[in-house]
């Protein structure tokens, strides 16, 4: 048992220690103990990081907006998340009378569970991945698909128009953006020649961000939409929908949604740094730290984007998904498929050549799609025109 986990040194050590106590006959017990210990460690570390991240995001976005951010509770406001959690725990747990109680209570769990499940295939550092699944990318897509179901559950079960509108918008957006996302993951899988995240990482002689910049940009935009973050946060556009699918939630259920939303940013950062930033293999003794630095860099960029770009309208979001990102991701997949056939070994010089070609393709394709989009909407094609209205037909 536990063969998938054998590559994890921490698991191996706990397993060996437990075997030493209970003996070979009770190997199943040692296995259970080791697995539980690992689950406890990883899940709690992830959730604690998510909690810390809520503080970091609020502080950093505050500075981006020339504010201070939460600085009252504890040193530098570090305990703000704990104070918030205590407040949420003490709040009354309100369930609307017309709500579908079971679905209503299940939705927060269904929201948080996929992000915890997706951790199983993330390589955090050398020998620190839980499972080296050979279909890791597919597993990631499958788990992230559950989140849109959770949003729909929350919106439907609240029996609130605002919640339903928010959920419908969210699901429309999530499904639309999953297509370019999956296309990019397909290109990455082609490039790495494997769907296992560990193989994807080790095959990056140079980070895939440099080899396939178009893919990285599309992935970043699509994952921002999947995370319901600011330029794409129409699901909880407070000026239109109060709080979207969260309208009827209060207390710790709301807290779980909130935590899941922020923890998902870290998860997205982990996926992004695995797929595009080369993961940990830089200097192996500090591989975990190096990985964490990359995740933090992603989170910082995400916060920067969130603090800068105002919210798109629902039709603009759909246009970005279908008229811009989708064709670009098709171009990306086609280009990488041809390149992979042309240079099947994917050694360092070959990756460099691929990268140079892809940078050219990125520039040309971006400009072409933008011009085509503008022309199809009867806008002036020249970008030098000062006031180009972002009108969408």
């Amino acid at each position: 048992m536990g063969d998938l986990l054998r590559e994890n040194t921490l698991y191996g050590n706990i397993y060996d220690w437990a075997i030493g106590i209970v003996g070979e006959d009770l190997a199943w017990l040692a296995y259970t103990v080791a697995v539980m210990a690992i689950i406890l460690l990883v899940v709690n570390a992830f959730l604690a990081m998510g909690t810390l991240y809520t503080w970091a995001e609020r502080r950093i976005i505050g500075r981006f907006q020339s504010r201070v951010g939460p600085n009252r509770v504890g040193p530098f406001g570090l305990l703000q998340a704990i104070a918030d959690a205590v407040k949420l725990l003490f709040k009354e747990d309100i369930v609307p009378r017309a709500a579908d109680r079971i679905v209503f209570n299940l939705a927060p769990i269904a929201m948080l569970a996929p992000s915890v499940m997706a951790l199983a295939v993330i390589p955090f550092g050398q020998t620190s991945y839980l499972a080296n699944l050979n279909i890791g990318l597919l597993y990631l897509i499958a788990t992230s698909g559950i989140a849109s179901l959770a949003v729909m559950m929350a919106g439907y079960a609240s029996s609130n128009r605002y919640a339903m509108f928010g959920a419908m918008r969210a699901v429309a957006m999530l499904i639309s953006y999953e297509i370019p996302l999956v296309m990019v993951l397909l290109a990455v899988a082609l490039l790495a020649g494997s769907m296992s995240l560990v193989d994807v990482m080790t095959s990056q002689a140079i980070p895939f961000l440099l080899v396939t910049p178009l893919g990285a940009i599309i992935f970043f935009l699509a994952i921002s939409a999947e995370l319901n973050r600011s330029p794409f946060d129409i699901t909880e556009a407070e000026s239109e929908l109060i709080a979207g699918y969260l309208t009827e939630y209060s207390g710790m259920k709301f807290g779980v949604f909130y935590l899941a939303e922020f923890a998902n940013v870290l998860l997205a950062g982990a996926i992004f740094s695995t797929l595009f930033l080369g993961g940990w293999p830089w200097w192996t003794p500090l591989s975990h730290v190096w990985f964490l630095v990359k995740v933090m860099a992603f989170a910082f960029i995400a916060i920067w984007v969130r603090s800068t770009i105002p919210r798109f309208r629902i039709d603009q979001i759909m246009v970005i998904a279908w008229k811009v990102l989708f064709p670009l991701s098709l171009v990306n997949v086609a280009a990488i498929a041809i390149e992979v056939v042309a240079w099947p070994e994917r050694t360092l010089p070959q990756l460099v050549i691929m990268g140079i070609i892809n940078w050219g393709i990125t520039a040309v394709a971006t400009v072409a799609v933008t011009r085509a989009w503008r022309a199809s909407n009867g806008l002036r094609v020249s970008p030098s025109a000062r006031a180009v209205r972002l009108e969408v037909g």
């Binding site: 981006f64 020339s66 920067w304 800068t308």
Partner: protein, 193 residues
Amino acid sequence: MYGSGMMKGFGVTIRNLFRKPVTVQYPEEKVRQSSRFRGQEFSWFEDRCTGCASCAKYCPLGIIRIVTSPSDRHKQDGADFNIDVFDIDQARCMYCGLCVEACPYDALHMGTNFEGAQLRRQDLVITVDVLRKRAKHPSTWYRPQLERQDFDPYKQEADMQTVAREPYYWHPKRPAMLPESARKEATADGEYK
């Protein structure tokens, strides 16, 4: 160039990141108000007050109550009045400052404080004892004589001579208020102690 507008936006936010936040952390640091700030507490100089109750008459809300009684002091010049009650009900005060404008003897001034929250409504009534004891940091609002002296209410405390419009030669009721030369003149006939 494509995306230059977006780059400009990102530049704005990243510049904010390395700038000091504009937020003033209130209980620790306070925004310095203008010296003409019409603040909460009133600065009242009892030695200047004759108990004429002009402030009470001019108050649009009628929230100032003055009760006076004749005293034994300065009987030669007509009796001096004790100010027994001088209640200002801050709960209804709108800080228009008409009482200050009305005061003929520059005895009442707006204050410079803005932290006067109380737990009970009756605590918002300023009584005469409170007015007597309070540190005098009068606002320079409607008091050009204070501005002429570069009076800074946030650093200095005012006494009854500082706040005067002019030396009260015309009203030599309280010799202590007079300048040194005038005081000698006024006390020359031995009437004033």
